[in-house]
């Protein structure tokens, strides 16, 4: 793939704009994409939700990312052209390709893959080198250890090695917890940075039984924060793990721990860091998701910047949120290693005087892969890469996952579930990770695992009534579209195969889903039973792992099912979070 370097260069600058906060600087039109003018006293680098993608990926951003209620039309709920307009990004530019779904396939040919840890390493080292020794910090927002067959097989150990080589100083977690306490602790014993989580506590029973905790008095399982001195200033970084781990995933992985947003405990922590520890800046390294972070920023005072993740929103500028104590900036740094957040802080005693923030797309073809990291990745991939590199099928069209309701990759998975498990209806989780495959691209087991690698991959086939199926859709839909972000869990709508429905996201729970139909056109009847296949249930299942089911289907060479998603979206006509249905 040839890359025209000027395609990139023409495009820079747009994504480096910052606005809405006192004297947020506007980046100049730099001569080179990654030449960043030095600013302030401390540089904080932030990656999040890389989902263990050690090598560069294609990843199509969503064409449907709806915001409801107060969130409608506000970042991160903008897609396509509305996104470009809001952030001043030129159409057809490299940034337009990185940040939006517009003309994805065409642009993918021009600009190539993004991310990759060897490329990230080169960029991170350069940006740290630019500001000098002991002037920077590298943070990871979690979902670092999960998302590939390799990471699943190694329970995240591969990513601990990569994280150490990359120089991650602190991280928090989400999918990390799905390996269970033992694997998590084994990994953390090898991790050279700190694992931070202010919002994970022992259950009463576990505390009573003297289970291991960072602070037995409070029951806090992990260290809540670090304080790092940079340029003579003290910067506190607090970790906020995904608040709903035991709800979104099987409880059996974390039986001794309870989670939650816990903004009151967070406020106490911030007050202590400001008062007793006299820090000059407070940063929240968060896996809440952007809507939750925006609400949290309006309630908790004393946080300068929230470096956010979870919802995979690549937001080029920080959003300034006013609260009783001042202003908190909220960011979200995308996913899959596509982006590197660069936060430059101008500090003075006890406060942040000024800020510059950039979310840099990691264009793999502009970065020379770091040799040590590349060697490390090759070594770790070793035998698995060989076993999983056999071609088992071909992408019959652009295969992507991200989007509120459906993606072509999930249609393929649903198709496989229905065909192989002989079910009328298939349900597939609305995960936001999973890479994109271009039309005509050979598909390997490694590709299938990049969509399916979880610690609870078992498939199931069950008889459910139409009423139960509707209840599931309503329940998941409320996790996505509840008007109060604190009641959202992140993730997208459960994907359906063989089932068509209408969704009105702005309605209340129980009233969003209507007009359910089978592929045959027959109405779904509330009292009638249907054979439903699915995977990744929060309850223990015994069926074959979903990746084997999908691989079998691909190998069979059955003609692709080109049925559209079958979801009709209602009542969001003027919402800039949707560009076409899907």
């Amino acid at each position: 793939m040839t890359i025209r370097r000027r395609d990139f260069l023409k495009a820079t600058g747009a994504a480096t704009l910052s606005a809405g906060f006192p004297r947020l600087a506007r980046g100049a039109d730099n001569a080179s994409v990654y030449d960043i003018e030095r600013f302030g006293d401390a540089r904080i680098l932030h990656i999040t939700d890389t989902h263990a993608q050690l090598r560069p990926v294609f990843f199509r951003e969503p064409s449907v990312n709806l915001g409801i209620g107060a969130m409608a039309g506000n970042p991160p709920h903008l897609v396509g052209k509305a996104f470009l307009d809001r952030f001043g990004i030129r159409p057809d530019s490299a940034d337009a390709y990185a940040f939006t779904c517009l003309e994805f396939e065409k642009a993918a040919g021009r600009f190539g893959k993004l991310g990759g840890f060897a490329h990230l390493k080169t960029l991170i080292d350069r940006l740290r080198g630019d500001v000098g020794i002991n002037r920077s910090m590298l943070l990871d927002g979690g979902d670092l250890w999960q998302g590939t067959g390799l990471s699943n097989e190694m329970q995240g150990a591969d990513m601990v090695e990569a994280a150490n080589l990359l120089g991650i100083e602190a991280m928090t977690g989400h999918w990390e917890f799905t390996y269970g306490e033992k694997a998590l602790r084994d990994n953390l014993a090898r991790f050279k940075g700190e694992f931070l989580a202010q919002n994970v506590f022992l259950t009463e029973e576990a505390a009573f039984n003297d289970a291991k905790a960072f602070d037995p008095a409070s029951g806090r399982v992990f260290k809540p924060n670090i304080i790092k001195e940079i340029g003579g200033y003290r910067i506190a970084v607090i970790g906020q793990a995904f608040p709903y781990v035991p709800i979104a995933h099987p409880k059996r992985f974390t039986p001794d721990w309870k989670f939650g947003i816990r903004d009151e405990e967070l406020q106490k922590l911030v007050d202590g860091l400001r008062g007793k520890d006299k820090v000059d800046a407070v940063i929240l390294l968060s896996h809440n998701g952007m809507d939750v972070d925006l609400k949290l920023a309006s309630r908790v005072t004393g946080i300068d910047v929230i470096l956010g993740g979870h919802t995979h929103d690549a937001v080029p500028q920080p959003i300034a949120v006013r609260n009783a104590g001042g202003v908190t900036l909220v960011t979200n740094a995308g996913s899959n290693g596509k982006f590197l957040g660069v936060l430059d802080l101008d500090l003075s005693k006890g406060k942040v005087a000024d800020v510059r923030y950039r979310l840099l797309p990691v264009f793999s073809e502009l970065l020379k892969p770091d040799a040590a990291m590349a060697a490390q990745i090759d070594k770790t991939r070793g035998a698995q890469a060989m076993a999983w590199s056999e071609k088992i099928g071909t992408a019959d069209r652009l295969l992507y996952r991200r989007g509120n309701f459906s993606g072509t990759m999930d249609l393929l998975i649903c198709d496989a579930l229905r065909e192989e498990l002989d079910a009328e209806i298939a349900l597939s989780p609305g995960f936001r990770w999973g890479t994109t495959a271009l039309a005509g691209q050979p598909l390997t087991m490694e590709d299938v695992l990049a969509q399916t690698a979880v610690t609870y991959p078992a498939t199931y086939v069950q008889r459910m009534t139409g009423g139960q199926i509707k209840d599931i859709l309503e329940d998941v839909c409320d996790n996505l579209f509840n008007a109060d972000p604190y009641y959202q869990q992140g993730g997208d709508m459960v994907r359906t195969g063989g089932l068509l429905y209408t969704c009105a996201p702005a309605e209340s729970v129980g009233h969003r889903i209507s007009d359910l139909k089978l592929e045959s056109g027959h109405r779904l009847e509330a009292g009638k039973h249907y054979k439903v296949a699915g995977w990744a249930s929060v309850n223990e299942q015994t069926g074959a792992p979903v990746w084997d089911v999908v691989a079998k289907h691909l190998r069979s060479g059955k003609p692709p099912n080109r049925q559209p998603s079958g979801v009709t979206i209602k009542g969001v006509d003027d919402n800039p979070g949707i560009a076409g249905q899907g």
Binding site: G260, F431, Y487, G490
Partner: protein, 160 residues
């Protein structure tokens, strides 16, 4: 993903079982001295189907919302069968604290008598049939004060 039959049968059981009636009748050695007519088991209140009727049966009047009643409950329950809910208050002369779940088959969950000189703070775990407002009523100085919070009970799954 989301759910399966086990999950659903659990839900159905919850709906059928109703609330756990944890009655904290303050056996702190002072009980005999405080014995009064309303120390009896509040049978009518535990029959009420909604929170307003239950409060009326219990206290004979309605509470006013107060920011002096601090209710701590999760936004989304990790397990609907055991939802940790606690309350504390800066109000003085607290004589009772009651917990209600609006959407449970029986709204009143528990009513605690608070003997004089006791710190008015209670933590308990309650069972919730489905997403509902959780209401706490504090009786202090002969008046009623309340706080409420919605707690979501979800079938779970489908995290990002």
């Amino acid at each position: 993903m989301t759910t399966n039959n086990h999950q659903f049968s659990r839900r159905l059981i919850l709906q059928g079982a109703g609330a756990v009636a944890l009655i904290g009748l303050g056996n702190f050695g002072l009980a005999p001295a405080l014995a009064a007519a309303n120390d009896k088991y509040p049978e009518e209140a535990f029959k009420a189907k909604n929170e307003a009727d239950a409060i009326k049966a219990l206290y004979g009047k309605a509470p006013e919302a107060s920011d002096k009643v601090k209710l701590d409950a999760p936004e989304i329950a990790e397990n609907g069968a055991v939802v940790p809910v606690s309350v504390s208050t800066s109000l003085s002369d607290v004589t009772s604290i009651s917990f209600l779940v609006a959407e449970n088959p029986v709204a009143l969950v528990a009513s605690y008598k608070i003997p004089a000189g006791t710190m008015p703070a209670i933590a308990n775990r309650i069972k919730m049939a489905k997403t509902s407002n959780v209401i706490v009523v504090v009786e202090a100085g002969g008046k009623l004060y309340s706080a409420a919070k919605e707690v979501k009970v979800t079938v779970g799954g489908c995290g990002g």
